[in-house]
């Protein structure tokens, strides 16, 4: 039996009760190293990427033909590449497209994946079956390969790469959201909303969604890391960021033919790319530790 007071429409405070608890937890997030340190690193990288053009010592696309393949020195702190561009300036600005792709494609995947997962979880039956089978087919392709096929018919740039990676990740997000939905759909507050005669849409977005924020937060953080890997791989294959854009993935791809003249060309962008992905992975793990959602994301 459901107590009477649960049958009344929840107030705003009640509805976002779990969200408040999450906010409470935010306070002691700072106690967990796995959340604190990566958050700091990611914030620094984001700030530097945004401020890039204002703090970089040189124009990232300006060439200095007489000063190629330089090791780090007083004038060029990170050295120069094969046509004498300043590596520090390129690395400082290169984070923009990388972060944009990682965060943008994850946001895109969530925009579609979250409602799809909620719908499959709440409706159940044939609708659930149909949605999940379609998702299974999409997941029958290796992630990178599917992104590659999608890009064959599109012009190559950061935006189309973001679109392709976003689409590829929709099934992964919707799977996590669906199983989280299944876990809470029989809770009392959902039943109460049903008894009140609320629509499925209301239940999905106002009852279920606020209560499955923790697993979604964990999944999306880990997704950003994977999205950056796939985006950088696309740039490496020549289907993402285009020259002369200073993109970490593209810089690494270019360095391939020059690593014997100057390993720094490879090392700097690799270091920052690795550090960024590493931070998102550790952060995702830390969030998982703190929020302890039962549902965990699957691999790439």
């Amino acid at each position: 039996m459901i107590p009477d007071n649960r049958l009344t429409k929840p107030t705003r405070t009640n509805r976002f009760y779990r969200l408040h608890r999450v906010a409470d937890r935010l306070r002691w997030f700072t106690k967990n190293d796995k959340i604190l340190y990566p958050s700091v690193v990611i914030s620094v990288i984001m700030v530097v990427s945004v401020l890039g053009p204002y703090i970089s010592p040189f124009d990232p696309t300006a060439t200095h033909p007489t000063e190629t393949y330089l090791a780090p020195n007083a004038k060029y702190l990170f050295g120069t590449d094969h046509i004498g561009r300043d590596l520090l300036s390129r690395v400082l600005i290169g984070g923009r497209s990388t972060l944009l792709l990682g965060v943008g494609s994850t946001a895109l995947a969530m925009t579609f994946g979250v409602p799809i997962g909620l719908l499959a979880g709440i409706k159940g039956g044939y609708i659930d079956e149909a949605i999940m089978r379609v998702m299974d087919v999409i997941m029958s392709f290796p992630t990178l390969l599917l992104a590659l096929i999608l890009l064959t018919s599109l012009p190559s740039n950061v935006w189309t790469a973001m679109l392709a990676v976003g689409v590829v990740f929709i099934p992964k997000i919707s799977r996590v959201v669906r199983s989280s939905t299944l876990e809470v759909k029989n809770e009392e507050y959902v039943e109460a909303a049903r008894v009140r005669g609320e629509s499925d849409g209301y239940i999905m977005f106002y009852e279920v969604l606020p209560n499955i924020i923790p697993p979604i937060a964990v999944e999306s953080t880990i997704r950003v890391g994977y999205a950056i890997i796939i985006g950088a791989s696309l740039s490496f294959l020549g289907l993402g960021a285009q020259p002369p854009a200073p993109d970490w993935g593209y810089m690494i791809a270019q360095s391939q033919n020059h690593i014997w003249q100057t390993p720094w060309f490879l090392i700097w962008p690799a270091l920052f790319l690795g550090l960024t992905i590493f931070s998102f992975n550790v952060l995702g793990d830390g969030l998982r530790d703190e929020l302890d959602p039962k549902v965990t994301g699957d691999q790439v």
Partner: protein
């Protein structure tokens, strides 16, 4: 037992259905390409009449479902026509490349299994010690660095003038030179194995920690068995099942990783074939190669599921 058989049959039907759906998706996506196949073949100077004639000859004016059925017939009879770029029959292009890729995947799996399980065991035995934290850091770093970066770093370290032990590109058939085959295989296989290895290490470690703290491990110790015997005969044997599943499931990931690693090391496999075909907009070749990779991938997942049910008799099949 009949329950198991039923499950396998059901899973097999599901596999076929997935493969069918995958073929439809590939056909659909490829036909969404804006390029005109006949024009690509003939070049931009061909007259409109010639293009139209070739389109009719290739059946490009037929309704889409007829084109799909034609293509499906080609897939089933292994007769997929010629590549636009190379002019060779597609089957002749795809099969040797697939065999090369499978060799690379095989060597990678051997590295993953041997080193991955060994590191996992060491990590669990030295639980929370210094060795364990070094291995854990390596595991984190492994999943955080894209393959083309690991590959380039390995080339920098082992492929160059300093230690020029391993060639950084190409492939040598084992019938020509076994040593050449091994050295050419080493860097790409090692690169591919690092990400997978991290999963295996993580899985083995957590299972082993649990097994070493279990009652049967205590009982084995009390019986006076040596440390090695307890670790290998008792704990490891019981930890292997989940690890094997992780390895099997990661086979699919391997097929995706091949694309980047083969491109990086100029390894003549199916992944490199796909990238080349996409660059050349070689539509029939893209379709065929992608289909082969996707089939291998779904089949790998199918085998992983079956293997899991065979190894774990307690599983609920429903």
């Amino acid at each position: 037992m009949s329950n198991t058989k039923q499950y396998i049959v059901k899973r097999f039907v599901y596999l076929l259905a997935t493969m069918f759906a995958v073929s439809v998706v590939i056909f659909g996506l490829a036909n969404a390409l804006p390029g005109n196949v006949a024009r690509t073949i003939l070049g931009s100077y061909a007259t409109e009449d010639k293009v139209n004639a070739l389109e009719a000859q290739l059946g490009l004016n037929d309704p889409l479902y007829v084109q799909y059925l034609d293509w499906l017939h080609g897939v089933l009879t292994l007769n997929l026509g010629n590549s636009i770029k190379y002019g060779q029959p597609i089957t002749e292009l795809v099969i040797p490349k697939l065999l090369n890729s499978l060799q690379l995947a095989g060597v990678t799996m051997v590295i993953v299994v041997t080193i991955g399980i060994a590191l996992g065991v060491v990590s669990a035995v030295k639980h929370n010690g210094r060795v364990d934290s070094v291995i854990s850091t390596f595991v984190y770093a492994g999943v955080s660095i894209p393959e083309f970066v690991t590959g380039l770093l390995l080339i920098l370290l082992l492929g160059g003038p300093v230690f020029s032990v391993f060639p950084a590109s190409g492939y040598v058939s084992p019938f020509e030179s076994v040593v050449g085959w091994g050295t050419h295989m080493f860097l790409p296989a090692l690169t591919l194995s690092i990400v997978l290895m991290t999963h295996v290490v993580r899985q083995t470690r957590s299972e082993m920690v649990e097994a070493l703290n279990s009652e049967y491990a205590d009982a084995a110790r009390l019986k006076g068995l040596s440390r090695q015997k307890v670790i290998i005969k008792h704990a490891l044997r019981n930890s292997l099942l989940p690890t094997i599943t992780v390895i099997a499931l990661n086979f699919g990931y391997l097929m995706g990783g091949l694309v980047v690693v083969e491109e990086l090391f100029a390894y003549p496999g199916i992944g490199r074939l796909v990238v080349g075909a996409i660059r050349n907009r070689d539509l029939p070749l893209i379709q065929a190669a992608v289909l082969v990779i996707a089939f291998t991938y779904t089949f790998g997942n199918f085998l992983a599921d079956i293997l899991y049910t065979r190894l774990n008799p307690q599983i609920d099949y429903s």
